[in-house]
Amino acid sequence: MVFYIAGGDFSNAGKASSQIKKALKQLNVNAKSIKQIVVAVYEAEVNVAAHAWEGKVTALIGENDIQVIVSDRGPGIEDIQQAMQPGFSTASKEVREMGFGAGMGLSNIEKNTNEMNIESQVGEGTTLKFRCFYS
């Protein structure tokens, strides 16, 4: 499954997570795992909408796990370690006023997934990969 997200388009952030949820439900994945996956995907979608110019979510749904790749063209992350810290945020005032950008995104993704990896080129973009095993 592939989804595209435009930068700044918060109203459509959540489309990918909803579709992925629907598929996982049809596969009879347990509710707790679905919730964790959906939360992680949603956070990633919001990240793209909040920071990047455009991005793509690719979900590979397997028998026992799901792999999600979120790649974007955007400003990139200077210090990934710092960005991972709960509460750290570079979100603009406008984004915060919309109720996003609390600095919990990446740490929330990490908390809800089994494996997570971020690669980023400043000025070019970021690729986030994560994997969840169904419990």
């Binding site: 959540g14 997570s17 909803s18 949820k21 598929a23 439900k25 049809q26 596969l27 009879n28 994945v29 509710a31 707790k32 679905i34 919730k35 959906v38 939360v39 949603y42 749904i61 397997g62 028998e63 026992n64």
Partner: protein, 455 residues
């Protein structure tokens, strides 16, 4: 709890139904297909919300109910009705005259369902402690409870483990009568239902073995009878029957009736399609932290119940006016011992999830089916026309991988196959007949809806 088959209140009258697809399109769980020219309800998916009844142009859906003559077998004939029953009458009919007509009809005792509403609401408040994560969801509307069980199983644990209002009223009524010397087996409890969902819930409670109610009366049916019997003037004083009724009780079944009581951070949503949208978000954690959610399947809550007569907004207006004349719940004196005893009966177990949208129990097979659905979807026109007898292209693709439909059910694919000379036109006609019935397209023009009167 072992369950035989899921009970359903809504049935299709094959004589009236002509397969117009209105119901199929509006069903919130995609439970309806047209087979052989008639709407067929998938029992597993149906939540008895009644939207199909509302959408039907020829009244082909009906609910089974008990005959009023049944009451004659009991010495104590109790009628339980929700306050919205009063709200649907034109204002010239005072509540006491309606009460009088009920007595004339043969009932010996009258209890409005919402009488000790505050008891149950307090108990519902306490049930918030049973929820580990997320908001407490009201168990008030049985269509919503079933919807969550089948479509949002992850939220089943958030539903309040308290019974429905009619259970409260029934237990309350029985205790009151026994206190005044009645023998339990002489009491017949007849519940007047405003909707199909409550009817199903009474006949097959979500987490109970059997219902406490003796019989169910269709509110529409009762309305017509009352209109015939209603006295021109008040002749007896019936206020005694309403001594436990409170302002909050009367408003309980309307939107915000529960949430305004719960306070804290609570929300009220009415209309099952609105509820579906919100549940999707709730399941994704895309909502702020909430304490309590009141969901009602019908727009304007029970005032919009499918078995009510009259306009739902006028019903709400009348009830609000009526409520203003009643005391607040805290001002009504209650017997605490009685309260404890009744509330004990209203606690249920956990609401079990019953997911019905799983493609296959075996995940490898489910994955294969999902891939197949996607490749089928690519070939379907995507206009959700319903001519295949399924509500939309996606539902048809699902039916196909489950072996319930064929590629030729899609009239556009079939047309393509004819052009490619893959199938003969005669065969194509046969296919159409399978969905739409024999001679559907040489319809009888005298039958209602026969020539698409444009509903």
């Amino acid at each position: 709890m072992k369950e035989k088959t899921k009970y359903h209140a809504i049935k299709v009258d094959a004589q009236k139904c002509f397969g117009c697809t209105h119901c199929m399109k509006i069903c919130p769980t995609e439970a309806i297909r047209v087979v052989n020219g008639i709407a067929v309800i998938d029992e597993k998916r149906c939540v008895d919300c009644g939207n199909c009844m509302r959408a039907c142009p020829v009244d082909a859906f009906y609910v089974e109910h008990d005959e009023l003559s049944q009451i004659e077998g009991f010495k104590y004939r109790v009628v339980l009705f929700p306050s919205v029953f009063i709200g649907q009458f034109p204002e010239i009919y005072s509540e006491s005259r309606i009460y009088e007509a009920l007595l004339k009809l043969g009932f010996t005792h009258i209890f409005e369902v919402e009488q000790p509403a505050s008891w149950l609401m307090e108990s519902v408040k306490q049930s918030a402690n049973d929820v580990y994560d997320g908001p407490l969801i009201s168990s008030f509307c049985p269509a919503i409870v079933r919807l969550i069980q089948c479509k949002y199983p992850s939220l089943a644990g958030n539903i309040s483990r308290r019974k429905a209002p009619h259970d409260l009223a029934a237990h309350f009524a029985i205790r009151q009568l026994i206190k005044s010397g009645a023998n339990e087996n002489e009491i017949g409890i007849f519940y007047v239902t405003p909707c199909s969902a409550k009817m199903a819930a009474v006949n097959q409670p979500v987490a109970e073995k059997e219902s406490i109610v003796t019989g169910i009366i269709n509110m529409k049916d009762l309305y017509n009878r009352i209109m015939k019997l209603i006295p021109a003037h008040e002749t007896i004083n019936t206020t005694e029957y309403r001594k436990h009724l409170s302002r909050e009780g009367i408003l309980w079944s309307l939107p915000r009736g529960e949430s305004s009581w719960f306070r804290k951070r609570s929300m009220a949503i009415d209309g099952i399609h609105n509820v579906v949208k919100f549940l999707e978000r709730l399941e994704n954690d895309e909502v702020p932290k909430l304490d309590f959610l009141e969901f009602k399947s019908c727009n304007q809550g029970c005032a919009g119940g499918i078995l009510l007569t009259g306009n739902r907004f006028l019903t709400v207006e009348r009830l609000q006016k009526r409520a203003a004349a009643y005391p607040r719940a805290v001002q009504i004196l209650h017997d605490f011992q009685e309260k404890e005893a009744v509330l004990e009966q209203l606690v249920t177990g956990e609401i079990e999830p019953k997911p019905v949208f799983v493609l296959d129990e075996n995940r490898i097979k489910a994955l294969e089916k999902m891939k197949k659905i996607n490749s089928i979807l690519c070939q379907l026109p995507g206009i959700d026309c319903g001519a295949c007898g399924a509500p939309n292209c996606h539902a048809l693709a699902e039916d196909m991988v489950q072996g319930k439909a064929r590629m030729t059910d899609c009239i556009f694919l079939q047309d393509k196959y004819i052009r490619m000379q893959k199938i003969k036109p005669e065969k194509a006609d046969k296919n159409l007949e399978r969905i739409w019935g024999k001679q559907r397209f040489e319809a009888d023009c005298n039958k209602k809806g026969g020539r698409n009167e444009g509903f």
